[in-house]
């Protein structure tokens, strides 16, 4: 149950990261999701990514909307402030939080109902504003908490557990994110942690709006034959375009040599992203080709995963707004309140 915190007994032999934290310090309360839920695997990937990135847990703010996916921030980063907001509106709350303090790391967690249905508008605008964040959609194509209704990412013609058929076109959040100006766009699979962890790490290092769509099978309502978001389907149809290695700045670069085609990208914080290409045709810096590549594979029933687009020179909302370096929430009376003398001058101009 959520209110049962995991016992904080640290095994003395647990490995510690550069800040002296163990993996346990990045965990949260015990999950209340169904056994085998893809979302729990994503939580585990988040825990591992932040542990490996040596980020102090309290410097992360985790925000979510409503739904199964949005419950998960309780299950990781227990020492971070969390905000379970209203349905479909996590992006605006996260935007406001990011405006207030540019020094924290913002992790938004949402679902397909939360982002593609009720929250499609906020999903769109948070990406085009370039809010510096990692936005993860845990995408299972159904409403879990209300017991199995279709979401807007459910495939046309797919059948619910109760036998209803979905007649509506699915929304591909990755294509949308590309169109809307997200500067880091990726798709992962909850069952492929080896790919997902470096994707999350690279998204954290990226400056600007980083979006990761993670296919996350719903064991209760959408893991049956005929579902394109079942474990079996995704495993069979996963078309990974690249494998990632992410090396933070302080690590010596070049310890590992790529097998086959590889491409190095230096991210804003100095970290190095090494893309091992699995598909020779794929170029993650070409947005137009990325979109046609995605569509072509979708037509074949394939789920393309990997880092699909990266704008290496991206900037964020604070740069556009030209805000000061100090977090706005730290500014003092002296920096904010002009005083009575300034007011007297204003009065003078109003006569």
């Amino acid at each position: 149950m959520t209110y049962l915190a995991k016992p904080k007994l640290h095994h003395p032999g647990l490995p510690r990261n550069a800040l002296g934290y163990t993996r346990r310090d990045y965990e949260g309360a015990i999950s209340t999701l169904c056994a085998g839920c893809g979302h729990d695997s994503i939580s585990a990937a988040i825990i591992q990514a932040f542990f490996e990135l040596d980020i102090a847990p309290h410097r992360v703010a985790k925000l979510s909307g409503i739904g199964c996916s949005s419950k998960t921030p309780t299950y990781f980063l227990g020492s971070s402030h969390g905000f379970n907001s209203v349905h479909g509106r996590m992006p605006s709350v996260l935007t406001g939080a990011a405006l207030a303090n540019r020094d924290l790391i913002y992790l938004g967690v949402s679902g397909d109902g939360d982002s593609a249905s009720i929250g499609l508008g906020q999903f769109a605008h948070v990406l085009r504003r370039g809010v510096d964040m990692v936005y993860i959609v845990e995408n299972n194509g159904v409403y879990g908490l209300t017991k199995g209704q279709f979401s807007a990412t459910a495939d046309k013609g797919s059948r619910s557990k109760r036998g209803a058929v979905n007649n509506d076109e699915p929304i591909d959040l990755v294509l949308l994110a590309l169109a809307l100006g997200a500067t880091f766009v990726a798709r992962g699979f909850s069952g492929d942690k080896a790919q997902l962890v470096p994707l999350i790490k690279a998204a954290v290092a990226h400056r600007g709006a980083a979006f990761i769509d993670v296919i996350s099978p719903c064991v209760a309502f959408n893991n049956h034959p005929g579902s394109t978001k079942s474990y079996d389907y995704v495993r069979e149809h996963n078309e990974a375009v690249n494998r990632l290695d992410f090396m933070p700045e302080r690590e010596p670069i070049g310890v590992e040599y790529p097998e086959g085609g590889a491409r190095d990208v230096v991210l804003h914080d100095g970290g190095l992203l090494r893309l091992r290409k699995l598909d020779a045709d794929y170029d993650p810096s070409d947005k137009v080709r990325a979109m046609s590549f995605l569509e072509a594979h979708r037509a074949k029933g394939e789920v393309v995963t990997g880092l699909l687009y990266l704008h290496p020179d991206s900037d964020d909302m604070h740069a556009a707004l030209q805000t000061v370096d100090a977090p706005l929430n730290s500014l003092s009376d002296a920096e904010l309140v002009p005083g009575n003398a300034a007011l007297a001058a204003i009065n003078g101009s109003l006569r």
Binding site: H58, N84, V93, M317, L336, N347
Partner: protein, 621 residues
């Protein structure tokens, strides 16, 4: 046969109304007219009455010249500047008997279009412009300046004052200044020749303006947000609140730019809708910034779900609600005080919110700044309830002042040092007995003080729970918090009538402008009323005491359903029969004449010794 009344003759006490076409450039000339009178030391109350339109629809500007300094509308028109053929009949009909009609006489109009009891002043404005200017745009723009020149002659306004205003307006644009001056002189000279100037209605120089300032409530509220320490503004354009957010941007450019780097000590985001703007405000405030939004009724409707979250999760937020004609899209460019109930109890479930009621732009500044201290102190949304009349009209106000010793009250925020010192932190723990818990900002401490914010039920330590007792415990604490709020909010202003009376009157917000004048008039007629201006909700105890102390209480407000009365009945347990409503809700600001008439008519029913006759009230000897 009717006998024409004598043309009105009054010094520094009359109403001029300009009937224009929206987008014709009249606003600038009309504003100069009002300001030139202020520069002559004579107070004015000016109001734009404009359509929801950019070009083509009718728009009016009403200037009440009033040496006595009243700031409300009087009602009626003494001098009509009829520049809009679309509204001619209505405009002519509106003139008080004995008044004046000024119009463009270039095209002849049949006698049926005029009134015998009104002095007609025709001036061939179009012909003058066409002779003077070849450019179509100039013809239109300078027509406005030409009639301004003519009016200055007719009312005896010192042309030098208008010239000085023009010089201030066109500083550095000498060519424009010169052509405006010429147009002004052209109109003035023509009027001096054609009419017997000045008229019986005239301006005479006085010293009744002093150091007062002329400012609209939206600008003043935005300045209040600057002084209140707001750093994040998120908004969505909606009349009549848009200029508040835009004004905040403009004040911030001047007052909140880091002198060394040119970077901004504020962030303003125009959101995609009102749901998003309140979401951003809540996110920013949760993270320790002072944040606000500006909106109007339809925006408040869209924000309902988030407002419940902010109430229940206890997150500060400041909302400026510039109320307009409603419900639905209603009358976007007309004024009303009709959002009280929807704001007081915004969102589903048991909620209650703090409302502040500024009476003029000066109070928009003061309460606008105070709202941020209150929101942080109480950790809840605070609504500053403007309306279009305060928000978008220029009002003559006392100068704005600021106490340089004031420091932002950030409320109960636990620091890393306090956490290290071993203070127990429970986000919803009532340690001080005032219902207000302590909070921490995200990122404060590596291992202490973090918590999960949620709209679901939680216990005192912010842990999710569906247990009934924990839910009730939390809801009861919220009630205690609002008891505390009652004591922290601005008190009502209460004053006694000149002599003891069993009757009282209550009002709030922009109604005060007409109310103060009406009280003086009623008193002149022998109707004495104790008075109370409410400045905040939840209501202070003195409000129920005032009602209890009077046999008859009028409640004057600008909505159909008597929303303040409903709040008083509901919150103070008052017998509705004890409160008599005076209501006005046609979208125009309430007038002195209306309040006086409505109260006088009713007062004669219960005030002993008061008789009523058509012209007003007199004492029966």
């Amino acid at each position: 046969m009717t006998t024409a009344p004598k043309p009105l003759a009054r010094v520094n006490d009359f109403v001029v109304k300009f009937a224009n076409v929206n987008g014709s450039g009249s606003a600038s000339a009309n504003g100069l007219f009002a300001r030139s009178i202020l520069r002559m030391g004579v107070p004015v109350a000016a109001r734009n009455i404009f359509p929801s339109n950019i070009q083509g629809l009718p728009t009016w500007y009403e200037v009440r010249i009033v040496e006595a300094g009243w700031r409300g509308r009087r009602g009626g028109v003494d001098f009509m500047v009829a520049m809009n053929p679309q509204t001619w009949d209505k405009d002519v009909a509106e003139i008080d008997s004995g008044g004046y009609l000024f119009y463009d006489s270039t095209r002849p109009l049949p006698p049926s279009k005029f009134r015998e009891d009104v002095t007609v002043l025709g001036m061939p404005l179009t012909a003058i412009c066409n002779a003077q200017y070849s450019d179509v745009r100039q013809r239109q723009l300078f027509k406005n300046v030409i009639y301004l020149g003519a009016l200055s002659a007719l009312f005896g306004i010192d042309a030098a004052e208008i010239e000085r205003l023009l010089a201030e307006q066109y500083r550095g644009k000498e060519a424009l200044l010169d052509s405006n001056r010429k147009a002004l002189a052209l109109g003035r000279e023509h009027a001096l020749e054609a009419f017997d100037c000045p008229l019986g209605l005239r301006i005479e120089r006085r010293d009744r303006v002093g150091n007062r300032i002329f400012i609209d409530g939206n600008s003043a509220a935005a300045l209040g947000a600057v002084y209140g320490g707001a750093t994040v503004a998120a908004w969505y354009p909606i009349t009549p609140s848009s200029s508040l957010a835009e004004s905040f941007a403009s004040w911030c450019r001047k007052l909140r730019t880091d002198p060394a780097t040119g970077r901004r000590r504020h962030a303003i985001v125009q959101a995609e809708d009102e749901l998003s703007s309140i979401g951003m405000v809540i996110g920013a405030a949760w993270n320790g910034a002072r944040a606000f939004t500006a909106t109007s009724g339809p925006g408040i409707s869209l924000m309902q779900e988030f407002l419940g979250l902010a109430y229940f999760a206890e997150i500060p937020a400041v909302l400026f609600d510039v109320q307009r004609g409603s419900p639905s899209t209603g009358m976007p460019t007309r004024t009303q005080q009709a959002d009280l109930l929807t704001c007081a109890y915004a969102s589903h479930g048991d909620t209650r919110h703090v409302l502040l009621f500024p009476e003029d732009p000066r109070e928009c500044f003061e309460l606008g700044a105070l709202a941020f201290d209150l929101a942080d102190r109480l950790q809840t949304p605070v609504f500053v309830m403007l309306d279009l009349d305060i928000g978008m009209q220029d009002w003559l106000c006392e100068p704005l002042t600021w106490d340089d010793h004031h420091r932002m009250d950030r409320g109960k925020v636990m620091t890393a040092d306090e956490l290290d010192a071993g203070r127990d932190f429970g986000r919803y723990l009532d340690v001080d007995g005032d219902g207000i818990p302590w909070r921490t900002y995200p990122g404060t401490h590596p291992s202490k003080g973090s918590y999960f914010t949620r709209g679901t039920t939680k216990d005192r330590y912010a842990r999710y729970t569906e247990e009934g007792p924990a839910y009730v415990d939390n809801m009861q604490r919220l009630l205690r918090k609002f008891e505390t709020a009652r004591t922290l909010l601005p008190r009502p202003e209460i004053a006694d009538a000149a002599q003891p009376t069993p009757a009282g009157v209550i009002w709030f917000g922009s109604t005060g402008a007409a109310m103060s004048e009406s009280l003086a008039e009623l008193e002149r007629q022998g109707i004495h009323l104790d008075r109370m201006r409410i400045r905040a909700f939840p209501f202070h105890d003195s409000i129920a005491e005032f009602i209890a102390a009077h046999e008859h209480v009028f409640v004057v407000e600008q909505n159909r359903d008597a929303q303040l009365k409903m709040l008083l009945v509901n919150e103070c347990g008052i017998d509705p029969a004890r409160l008599t409503s005076v209501l006005h809700y046609d979208g125009t600001p309430i007038t002195e004449r209306l309040i006086t008439r409505e109260i006088a008519e009713r007062a004669r029913l219960f005030l002993p010794g008061i008789g009523y006759q058509r012209t007003g009230i007199r004492k029966v000897s």
